[in-house]
């Protein structure tokens, strides 16, 4: 008796497994796809999910969003594995277009970076209103061994931005106080929170994760150099077989007045301040 029960159970499981296999193989693509490669910061904040489902409804495309670091998103675009990229690394994006991989870069929105650190602020950044000075203080407290700096270290937009800041203010990051993590924004924040490190993050990701980061606080903000513009670039149809029409539709969608307004409103109800600001003319 027991044996036949077991037999039945096993056959049910086997049939179910087979059903999945069949479902997987007969899966048909009925709608045309548009693949967007973007950064984790837009995706993890939830903004893109909201906008893309609206775009799917309006345009009838099936939009696949691949959220990776900016470096990887650019590489995915360069290989033609996405139809359009939406990233934030101005210099790299301009290069991308100049090399002929993308057609044109359109400003969509911006947010800003903030310097975060341990709540008790051993480097005393709160008393500074100059970004260069603030970063020097981080270096000094690091050299003393009292704190450290956690860098994304993943060639992302944030990482590129951070490197350019050290460069502008002539600070040498070749020291034990500087930890290059090679991780995404969320992981880097979690690490900084645990290590009581200083770090640089986009405001959106920090605000959306603040509840999980009890040890971190915004210690410096507002400098023009912390400005973080996002650009959208359709992949050049002359380089790869891509859905260029869909990509152009998405660009038009993003710069439309009502969508721009929606971008500026996003997050206000939850964080009492916007996460992104509209940036299209």
């Amino acid at each position: 008796m027991k044996r036949s029960m077991a037999k039945k159970l096993v056959s049910i499981v086997l049939v179910l497994t087979l059903a999945f296999v069949v479902v997987g193989c007969t899966e048909e693509e009925v709608t045309e796809k548009l693949t967007l490669a973007t950064t984790t910061s837009t995706y993890d904040s939830g903004l893109l999910g909201e906008l893309m489902s609206q775009f799917e409804e309006e345009s009838g495309y099936q939009a696949d969003v691949i959220a990776v670091g900016t470096g990887q998103a650019l590489e995915v675009g360069r290989r033609g594995d996405a139809d359009i990229i939406f990233v934030h690394a101005e210099e790299l994006e301009k290069e991308f277009v100049a090399e002929g991989y993308g057609t044109e870069r359109t400003y969509v929105m911006y947010n800003d970076f903030v310097v975060l650190g341990p709540e008790d602020d051993p480097a005393n950044l709160k008393g500074t209103d100059d970004l260069g000075l603030a970063l020097q203080k981080v270096e000094q407290i690091g050299l003393k061994g009292e704190s450290s700096f956690a860098s994304r270290g993943d060639d992302s937009g944030t990482h590129t931005k951070e490197l350019s800041l050290w460069n502008i203010y002539g600070i040498d990051i070749d020291g034990d106080w500087y930890n290059s993590l090679g991780q995404g924004m969320g992981d880097t924040l979690i690490t900084a929170n645990e290590m009581q490190s200083y770090t640089l993050a986009d405001r959106g990701t920090f605000l959306s994760m603040e509840d999980h980061l009890p040890n971190l606080a915004i210690l410096f903000e507002g400098d023009e150099n912390l400005f973080n513009p996002y650009g959208i670039i359709p992949i050049n149809p002359e380089q790869h077989d891509v859905n260029y029409e869909g990509a152009e539709e998405l660009v038009e969608f993003f710069v439309r007045a009502d969508i721009q307004e929606q971008i500026g409103e996003f997050g206000k109800d939850k964080f009492a301040q916007p996460l992104f600001f509209s940036d299209a003319d």
């Binding site: 044996r3 077991a6 037999k7 159970l9 096993v10 499981v13 497994t17 999945f20 296999v21 479902v23 997987g24 193989c25 899966e27 693949t35 984790t40 993890d44 999910g49 696949d64 969003v65 691949i66 959220a67 990776v68 290989r79 033609g80 594995d81 995404g184 924004m185 969320g186 992981d187 924040l189 979690i190 959306s208 994760m209 509840d211 999980h212 980061l213 790869h240 077989d241």
Partner: protein, 233 residues
């Protein structure tokens, strides 16, 4: 500790409310891993049986290749599959990248050396007298192979279980070639990475608990398989 309890509660509530997003993630996981395991067994068991039963010059090299495959980092396999199916790559025309198909390919490559390697060991350890006896009784080659596989079925089953364990819990390769696309290529492991990245540890843990439960149920079902018509023959 709080997080674990919170995760457990969340896992249960996600499961009993049949949250469609969670169900979709679970089904995608099972579909990808089930299909991959099916093909891995299809290639791996005959290959392992062949290697276990035959002897030819250069066999030890093939064995070493197989054992290396068992320890090959999944991320490296993911990168390989990515490059192969990338639109600039040799199989780019198929448009399989960022679909479950590329994930299945990656998982087949990860799991079939395990299936083949363990099957080979299991077949090797069958009493060599059996082989002689079968031959003496005039069994055909096909009959010999089937008889030996039957004799070593527990070992073969372990090979499939090992293959299953390696791919249901794998994240690096499926993340890279699947892209973790919502409602399409998101599986339990990539969902865990995403929620961890967002700091939603409770939700991430609950996905982990669901994954563990599924693995247990599947392994339990597989482990009662050899009982089928087993001990009384």
């Amino acid at each position: 500790m709080d997080l674990l309890i919170e995760g457990l509660q969340e896992a249960i509530s996600l499961l009993i409310t049949f949250d469609p997003r969670v169900i979709n993630i679970i089904l995608t996981s099972l579909q990808v891993t089930g299909t991959a395991l099916f093909f891995a067994a299809l290639i791996g068991i005959p290959l392992g049986a062949f290697l276990g039963l035959s002897d030819f010059p250069g066999k030890s090299i093939i064995e070493a290749v197989l054992y290396t495959g068992m320890g090959f980092p999944p991320v490296a396999i993911g990168l390989l599959v990515f490059i192969t199916f990338s639109s600039a790559g040799p199989f780019g025309f198929l448009n399989w990248l960022f679909t479950t198909r590329a994930m299945i390919i990656a998982q087949i490559i990860i799991s079939f050396p395990l299936v083949a390697g363990f099957t080979m060991t299991a077949v090797n350890s069958v009493d060599s007298n059996l082989l002689l006896q079968l031959k003496a009784l005039g069994a055909t080659k096909r009959q010999v192979v089937l008889a030996i596989l039957k004799e070593s079925r527990l070992g073969v089953l372990v090979s499939v279980i090992a293959g299953f364990g390696a791919i249901i819990s794998e994240v690096g390769a499926v993340m890279m070639v699947g892209g973790n696309i919502e409602r399409s290529t998101r599986v339990l492991t990539t969902a865990i990475v995403l929620e961890t990245r967002k700091g939603n540890f409770g939700l991430a843990i609950s996905f982990g608990i669901i994954l563990l439960t599924i693995t247990f149920v599947v392994n339990f079902c597989m482990s009662i398989l050899p009982g089928r018509g087993g001990r009384n023959d």
